[in-house]
Amino acid sequence: MRYCIYLDFKRGLTNKRFWAVLGSVSFIFLLHVILDGVWPLTHYYYGGEESFYLWGGRIYTSQGEIEALSNMELFSDFFPFLCAAAYAYTIIDDRRQGYYIQQLQRIGFPKYYWGKLIASGLLGGLFGALCMVVICLVSMLFTAWNPFIREAVDFCAGWDALYRDTTSISRYVGWGSGRAYCNITSSVVWYFLGGVKYFVMGVLYGLLASMIAFLTDNKVIMYAGPVIYLLLQDKWLYLFLDLLHTVFSRPVVTERFSLRSGRILYGDLYHYFLLFFMIALLLNLAKLLQYRIERFYMEGGSADD
């Protein structure tokens, strides 16, 4: 089994599609950094109007950019899609081309099934963690040359002091930002935690996408499924908790139970608990459905049959 997972993992990692998707994400981050910082600062440097250009540039520190990039609406909306694109598509490709028969004949269905599922989860997770690495690299590389860096750092320090007590800037590890056990001051540790969080989220979406791929054999549903799932859970949970007038306030519900990870959740153990619970649930579901999917595979059905 371990060897099957290794083979699938290697196949995903050496596939240019994995790196092409990561490259596209890096390009979007790069574009954001350039338009957000490099462009206004360059204009200011060459005599542009201070009130406009300096405002954008002076918050242009690596820390500010990392936070801006990891909170991008575009990134958080497409994150599940990206994790699905990490490896799960091979399940459908192999099926369409009949390649799966060659593999099944050699290793049997259970090894094929679990190998693909776990490799897809791990590659989704790796993709998520790599996104965090790219965010840090892009932000650090493009802020190093900022001629106003001292002003920017001062400005951010002032900003940080102003909002120190609110959850938006504070960094905590523990059961929720309100009841902190440990206040993290090191940025490196914080971003490492961010990487871990993206890894766990990536595993969840990778697993989910591969389950959908096995069940539906439909590429569009496979790619969009994790995004739709994320939105569905967000909305229905919010709706139920709101209707039931629970003890949770709305922001708590939308933040803590959401499957999107904002920067304030990097150290939130509630959120980790939710993610691990979902992963365990998915793995159990995969085990429950294994026989059904095996039959479906052996009998040659598909989503539209």
Binding site: I228, K235, A303
Partner: protein, 304 residues
């Protein structure tokens, strides 16, 4: 003929699953908006009363709603509406002529887009009507209060309900009709663009990809630039900068699905959205038509 094709598409189990998922997503999102708008309207005191009309205007004029539900759902359905996945060559040959085949392909996209909008229009009326117990189609007073607030603002001004100045010069049904027509044209354009790209590249994934790309650019410009580049809410932004930003926004999907600011002129922006929609639909449909006349219709791919 088109009815047979539509029926075959709607019978597809994967299409039914997609429509079910979108509807399941639409319902809580609509209720979420209702739970936000009711207290928002209450904050205007006696003036505040939410009606079905305002929910319809809000849902079909709120970019967040499109991105999270309506456009996401439409993208899911694109592979099913741009071509006949299973009996492509048979259907083309049975159309008798290339002109007729092109007509069917265009009619298929148009009718599907219209049905798509109508389905969610109906859902909005039913759910918000039952939730609010108010099926009134009259202008609520609080809209005029918002507009008075916006009138004293020189920069960009955004509120939960984005109905810009002078929209109340028109009857509510006219405004609603114009907004729905505008977004329907937006959907038709996106469908036709996806269809054209699918024909040209012979790959459905590129047709879907172009729509995702346009949506990503729109999201990128509309949501993700609150930094130095687009300090659009700041009245002190130089006029030149504001103009560049407005032009950029006009080139995205925003004019089809919402207004940029409450300080916009309703008549101008709705005209711009509808005219652009019409022109783009004509251009893309002409592209599809020409391709059907001149191009090879042999092999659409099997990748979706």
């Amino acid at each position: 003929m088109i009815r047979t094709q539509l029926a075959a598409v709607l019978h597809k189990p994967s299409v039914r699953l997609k429509i079910l998922l979108i509807t399941l997503l639409f319902i809580p999102t609509l209720i979420e908006q209702l739970t936000m708008i009711v207290p928002y309207a209450d904050s205007f005191g006696k003036e505040g009363q939410v009606t079905v009309a305002i929910m319809l205007l809000h849902v079909f004029n709120y970019l967040y709603f499109y991105v999270d539900v309506l456009l996401a759902g439409f993208i899911l359905l694109i592979p099913d509406i741009v071509r006949d996945e299973y009996i492509d060559k048979q259907a083309i040959m049975l159309s008798a002529s290339r002109k007729k085949a092109a007509g069917i392909a265009l009619a298929r996209i148009v009718s599907f887009s219209v049905l798509y909008v109508l389905w969610f229009l109906l859902l909005t009326v039913m759910i918000s009507g039952v939730w609010l117990r108010n099926f009134s189609l009259a202008w609520p007073h609080f809209i005029s209060v918002i507009q008075k607030q916006a009138a004293g603002w020189s920069g960009w001004y955004m509120q939960l309900v984005m109905l810009p100045e002078n929209c109340m010069d028109y009857p509510v049904l006219v405004v609603l009709f114009l907004i729905v027509v505008r977004s329907t044209l937006g959907f038709i354009f996106l469908g036709m663009l996806a269809g054209l790209i699918t024909l040209l590249t012979k790959k459905t994934k590129y047709g879907v990809g172009i729509v995702i790309f346009l949506l990503a650019v729109t999201l990128f410009l509309y949501y993700d630039f609150d930094g130095g580049f687009l300090l659009c809410y700041d009245a002190s932004v130089p006029a030149e900068q504001a103009r560049v930003m407005t032009d950029l926004i006009k080139a995205t999907l925003v004019p089809f699905f919402t207004f940029r600011s409450l300080t916009d002129n309703f008549t101008y922006w709705i005209q711009y959205g509808i005219v652009c929609g019409l022109v783009l639909c004509i251009v893309t449909s002409a592209g599809i038509w020409l391709y059907y006349q001149k191009g090879d219709l042999d092999n659409a791919d099997q990748d979706e």
